[in-house]
Every structure is written in C-alpha cells, then in structure tokens.
Symmetry: C2
C-alpha cells in the first residue's frame, strides 16, 4: 500500500572488514550473528588482548553478552580496566573465544588438525559509567556462567559495585571461524597403514559439590540439575 | 673436596618481571616451571596475541613445546607468521593458555568465579629457518595433540615444509595463575538461602571414529585407547 513502510529486519550478519576476512581458509569464516552469539554464549572465558607499552597482552577473563554488546568486568585496579578508563575514545582490544570440538588425526603429519569454533571481536572497549548499565552488565556476567543464576544470589552492594570496573565492547567487527568434518588426506596417502580419524572431545559436568556451610534446607537449584 | 665443583641444577622457576607480576590476586600467581609446563602441555590451543597497525590481534592456534621453547606453525601466508619473518629482531607476542576447571557459585553475585589454570608467556617470536629445527618443531606440534603420534604418520614432504612457517618463542618471561578450592563468601552472607558450591567441569573423549577409507587391517593405535 502506498505510504506504508515495510518493517526493516535487522541485519543477520556482520559486515566483513579487512581485519575479519582471514588470509587463509576463507571458506571456514562466517559472519552470521546467530552463530557468533552461540559460540560466545557457550564459552566460560574469553581471551582479551590489548596493547601495553607497544607489546601485546592476552588475558583470560569472564564475560557476558547482552544483545550486540559484550561486557568484561574486573577489579578497578586491574590493568586493562584501568587503561580503558583512561583511554580516549576507547581502548583498542581484540576479544577471542575458542572451542575445541575434536582432534583430527590424518595419515600425514601435515593434515593433522582440530575441529574448532572460534569468534574474534575487534573494537574499542569503553568504561561503563552508568550505574544501571553496570548493574545489568554484572547480572549478565553471572548469568553467562549459569543462566538464571543472578536472580538467585545476593546482588552486588555499593562497596562491591565501587570496587568493580566494567567495560563494554560492541559487536561490530566480528567473525567466526570453524572447522568441522573429518580427515582431509592427500589421495596418494590413503593406502598408508596409519590409523586416521576423528577423536571427539567430551564436555560436561561432574556432580555439583555444595559448600559445607550451606544454610539448612538449601536444595540444589533446578538450573543446576539441567546442566 | 677442594677444586670440585658442585653440579649446578637448572633453576626450577621463572624470574618474575614487571609484566608477569599480577596487579591483583598475587597469591594466585606461580612461576614454577613444572607447573607451567603441565598447564601448557594439557592445552590443545593457545591464544597468540600480536600487534598489527597499533591494534591487538588474538588468534587461537595449535602449538608444541620442546623444553623451554614453544613452537607455533601456520601457512607461510598467515599474518602473524609473515610478520614474524619480517620483524627484526623478532615479533612481540603474548601467548596464553587457559583451562577452566570448575564453576564457583557463591551466595553473593560478587563472589561468583571459576577455578582455572592459565599461563601467560611474553616475548619475541622468531622465524625458524633451520630445516632440522623446523622438522623437530613440527613433530612436537603433532605430538602435542597426541603424544607419540608423529612417529605414526607420514612426515611432511618438501612441498609441505615449504608451505609451512614455524615460529619459536622461548619461555623466559612466564607466569601461571590459578584459582582452586571452594566458595569464598562474606561471613554475613553465609546464612542466605542461596545454594553455593562448586560445579566441576568434566573433560574427556568420546570414542574415536575411524576415517571411512582406512587401509584394510588398520587397527586403532594403543595411544588412542589410553586417551
């Protein structure tokens, strides 16, 4: 109908950039937002890279996601968080998450590999100064470890909030990279006597161990039974 | 006896530096070489950080270790390997490895954490140009994934060696960081009704899946049965 606007769907993929188009195996790259979110959400830690005195520093850290924004927290005294607070306009960072899914044993040493899923995020990290955004980000960090957990714990008090710095990194310049499938040996190697195949890595949880001092009657919550 | 020298044992720990002494939780840091080696050897991938056009880049990659040297390999066309070949004296890198061992659920959101073991290595990466060192390094990379595997696969041929770049990073400026144990809640939170405790992460392997085209009579090797 004339004058009626079609609703605009948000884009389902990130726009590739010079930094997110790989120099090798471009067929393994993906910019799909849903895939990127799934890889991020499955990870407990990310590896956060920044530059200090001209040299790279890579630290493992917890993180959370709300929509198209990642949050990292830490002590107000920690280096990357302090550096972010002082950076103008923001601190250049690279945040990377990797899952190893299987070992790939080929007949040739050269074709040994792993099946993996990784996400690399480039961008500027900003100090979160708005108290409400900080509070919501801290909930997201706890819920990233165990979904639903933030509602079943004591929220941070003023002293804890003051001791905690939170930085944000928007998902704009992002790519995923994946290897799936089996062995890719050269045709002339197929008759070699070496075993070749896939060794899948198993991931899971052992039974939760309650703190010795639990208040009487405290039961294991449902969200842990389903882990 | 006069004139007899006591044998000098090699140092068992790395010397802390400004970069390897953490600004927070210094009690979690360790410089013990045996511990560092164990954390490195258990990991399938490391996260390699370098600086490109002033911004950090963090990429997951396989690696190997021979004594106090780490090796990373890749296509001669890949960015960090090409940059290392062009860097003089070497490319500043930071190589980090992390294991997540357990989730720590505290009564307070603030004390949620994970048990982890990580190693951070700072230093200059050098292009490996000696053919023999390159060959031995590539064996170490394969054996890092499955110990003993390099002897049971076809070694790289001339073409494959030429297509592969290897960089080395010596273990000098190195630290490990660990969190172990249980929940550290505030005394005044102990009576809260929230479940608190440790959720251990289980790690293991599923049954290896042989490549459909295995040569007749190829059996699953013993070193995979013991995984």
């Amino acid at each position: 109908m004339q004058g009626t606007k079609e609703p605009t769907s948000p884009p389902t993929a990130y726009t590739p950039s010079d930094r997110t188009v790989p120099t090798r195996s471009p067929d393994r790259a993906s910019y799909d937002k849903e895939l990127v979110h799934a890889v991020l959400d499955e990870a407990y830690v990310c590896h956060l890279g920044f530059v200090r005195d001209g040299a790279p520093v890579v630290l493992p850290t917890l993180f959370g996601r709300i929509g198209e924004t990642l949050y990292v927290h830490g002590s107000t005294g920690s280096r990357p968080l302090r550096m972010t607070g002082q950076a103008d306009p923001g601190l250049p960072v690279c945040l990377t998450v990797t899952h190893v899914d299987a070992l790939i044993l080929a007949r040739s040493a050269f074709h040994h590999s792993i099946n993996y899923r990784s996400v690399v995020v480039h961008g500027l990290a900003y100090d979160v100064t708005d108290p409400e955004e900080k509070r919501v980000a801290l909930d997201a960090l706890v819920d990233h470890v165990v979904p639903g957990r933030s509602a079943d714990s004591r929220p941070a008090n003023k002293k804890e909030l003051a001791a905690t710095a939170v930085i944000r990194l928007d998902l704009n310049e992002v790519s995923a990279k994946l290897r799936t499938g089996g062995v890719n040996d050269e045709p002339e190697d197929l008759a070699l006597p070496h075993w070749a195949g896939v060794v899948p890595l198993r991931k899971g949880y052992d039974a939760p161990v309650g703190d010795p001092g639990l208040a009487p009657g405290t039961e294991l919550p449902d969200y842990l039974g389903s882990l």
